[in-house]
């Protein structure tokens, strides 16, 4: 019994990571429909921010906490720049956006290799995140790593902040207006170009946060983005376009499924099973995946 409980907790912590890396995409992909393959490299930029800050600031705890806002700004700025340079010219061609941003991701990986070297680098975790919280003691204990709890907390905070931003702030209202009816928004005086760039800034900034979180659970390297970007997109695809709640549910569902499958089989078989489950799920519920406008099919 404890085994299943502990696997579920593992699943939830995998889900929290998935949610963090997918959260930025729920803005850029979910709201704007842009497939940004360089999103993974923005995550990488966030992770390297922690590594860079640990040079001058020796206290791991301080540098980690400081890295959160810095990584957000760094990754956000990269995103806004990418939007301004390339993506805004390609809004009508989603598939080409995917390919172009993949080219950008190749460049950023090479840049990371040139600046930080090809091998993975490691950061030190603060002491207060190194222990484990014991939920059930005894012979068959159930414990949770504090670092995982931190990630979970960060994910929850990010979701809450994003929800508030979308619902309560003028920027959020403008973003939703632009998503729902671009021409109308423009006609009512909203600078849609600026809103697009800000949305991209926020989404990419969230990728930076995810990168900070990832330093707690794995190594930092030039290819770290490639390995997680597909998972992040799958979370959004399963969750349904433009729905924050869908992304949250999907992230945790996929995390738990992965953890349970890993326990009963192997990591690789688990990944394949999760994918097959996703394809099967899309058979049953393709909503959010296609939209059909009948008045004009153009």
């Amino acid at each position: 019994m404890t085994v299943y409980l502990s696997q579920s907790f593992t699943g939830i912590s995998i889900g929290a990571v998935l949610l963090l890396i997918a959260l930025g995409l729920s803005l850029t992909f979910g709201q704007m429909g842009v497939i940004n393959m360089a999103h993974g490299e923005f995550i990488m930029a966030g992770a390297y921010t922690v590594y860079m800050l640990q040079g001058p600031i020796s206290d791991a705890g301080v540098s980690l906490l400081l890295a959160l806002p810095v990584a957000f700004l760094v990754a956000g700025a990269m995103g806004a720049l990418l939007e301004w340079l390339l993506i805004r010219r390609l809004y009508a061609r989603p598939l080409d956006t995917l390919l172009v941003t993949w080219g950008v991701s190749l460049m950023l990986q090479q840049l990371a290799r040139d600046v930080f070297g090809a091998p993975n680098v490691h950061t030190s975790s603060p002491d207060w995140l190194s222990g484990r919280l014991t939920l059930i003691g005894g012979e068959d204990p159930l414990t949770l790593a504090y670092s995982r709890l931190f990630i979970l907390g960060l994910a929850v905070a990010a979701v809450a902040a994003l929800t508030l931003t979308l619902r309560r702030t003028p920027l959020g209202r403008r973003m939703r207006a632009v998503v729902q009816h671009r021409d109308l928004a423009e006609a009512s005086g909203i600078a849609t170009g600026r809103v697009d760039r800000l949305t991209f800034f926020l989404g990419s900034g969230l990728a930076g946060l995810a990168g900070v979180a990832l330093t707690l659970v794995g190594p930092i390297g030039p290819t770290m983005g490639t390995n997680i970007i597909i998972d992040a997109f799958l979370v959004i695809v399963v969750g349904g376009i433009g729905r924050l709640r869908g992304a949250v549910v999907a992230a945790f569902a996929l995390g738990v499924l992965q953890a349970v499958m890993e326990y009963s089989t192997t990591v690789s078989v688990a990944r394949v099973t999760v994918l097959i489950a996703i394809v099967a799920f899309l058979q049953w519920r393709p909503q959010g995946i296609h939209t059909l406008r009948t008045r004009s099919l153009a």
Partner: protein, 353 residues
């Protein structure tokens, strides 16, 4: 007069291509360089399928590595078993394996007929299954691209995880013979090159005919407005499925030919990155034209080998930069330059959507 010119341009192009591949290249290139060219031509075969599925059908197949790998492993398993001899285990299984028995799913690949059939049946069958499920539910565009990419990634991960039976990260390598001919003999390796060149040309001609057929026109129609085609009484899912399955088949053939030509098949050749590399060549050359995709694939693969040896970092920036520039500002690829320069109207359906 222009119509005669147009009519003979394509056959003349193919004749020139054949001349280059069968006479000029073998005469000028060393055995080593010819072997490299054979490798590039395998990528070009994949690009032929990409031109069909993506250029004409609008399906961005980011997971062709999956089908390339299926064809490659089917062939490699057969060669491994033949090398080992009747009743024996392939060498790598003796190395990592804890069993003295051949896994049941290896057994059928002893038969050359089964292995050759599997090169086509496995990729095309799997593509039919995936495609039917995905197209029927109208999953398309970026969703399809991401899903196909995820499948290629999953396949690579699965192979890595099963080291005892698939060779894991190392893949399958060290092939001695190819259907009774020794691969150590340079003459036989040249023959493999000729085989690949012939297959490439035949597939190019076949796919070009398909472009010119009514099906080719229908495929463009589906690419541009799937719903409209539905209202003409066609099932667009089936139209797309045919192109997707055929492109999977060409990738499978390419994988199978890659094995004797290069001497290895491994997860690193079929995962996310190589799968996108397949698309890069086609995109730079010209996604909607068979010749463009093929020339692009060969050029990119050649440049990668030549330049990345000397300037690995600079090459990555250059390749990525060229790719970004072409996709963003010249979606028809480099072949469309000629048309732009000639200031002629775009030819029917060669302009990508």
């Amino acid at each position: 007069m222009t119509s005669t010119l147009t009519r003979w341009r394509a056959p003349a192009g193919y004749a020139l291509g054949a001349l280059l591949l069968f006479a000029v290249a073998p005469a000028l290139l060393s055995d080593f360089r010819l072997g490299q060219l054979a490798r590039y031509l395998c990528f070009a075969i994949v690009a032929v399928g990409i031109a069909l599925a993506w250029g004409r059908g609008g399906m961005l197949t980011l997971g062709q590595g999956l089908f390339f790998g299926l064809g490659g492993y089917a062939m490699a398993m057969h060669l491994k078993l033949t090398d080992a001899g009747a009743g024996q285990l392939p060498d790598f299984m003796l190395l990592y394996g804890d069993t003295s028995e051949l896994p049941w799913w290896w057994e059928p690949f002893r038969s050359p007929a089964v292995a050759l059939a599997a090169v086509l049946v496995l990729p095309m069958g799997l593509a039919a299954l995936i495609g039917y499920a995905v197209f029927r539910r109208r999953v398309r565009g970026a969703y399809f691209a991401i899903l196909s990419q995820a499948l290629a990634a999953a396949f690579a991960i699965l192979l890595v995880g099963q080291q005892a039976t698939t060779g894991g990260t190392n893949g399958l390598t060290n092939f001695q013979g190819f259907f009774g001919f020794s691969l150590l003999d340079p003459v036989n390796r040249r023959t493999v090159y000729f085989l690949i060149a012939a297959v490439l040309l035949l597939l190019m001609i076949g796919v070009r005919q398909l472009f010119l057929s009514r099906y080719g026109e229908l495929l463009v129609a589906v690419r541009d407005s799937e719903e409209r085609v539905r209202f003409l009484g066609y099932d667009p899912a089936l139209v797309k499925l045919v192109a997707y399955v055929l492109s999977a088949g060409t990738a499978g053939i390419a994988g199978a030919l890659f094995v004797p030509a290069v001497g290895i098949i491994s997860p690193a050749l079929i995962g996310i990155v190589p799968s996108i590399q397949f698309v890069i060549g086609a995109a730079i050359g010209g996604r909607a034209s068979v010749a463009g995709a093929v020339i692009g694939a060969v050029a990119v693969a050649w440049a990668q080998t030549t330049l990345s040896e000397e300037f690995p970092a600079a090459w990555t920036y250059f390749q990525a930069g060229l790719f970004i520039a072409v996709v963003a500002f010249l979606p028809g690829g480099l072949v469309s330059l000629r048309r732009l320069l000639a200031r002629r109207g775009p030819r029917v359906a060669e302009v990508p959507a």
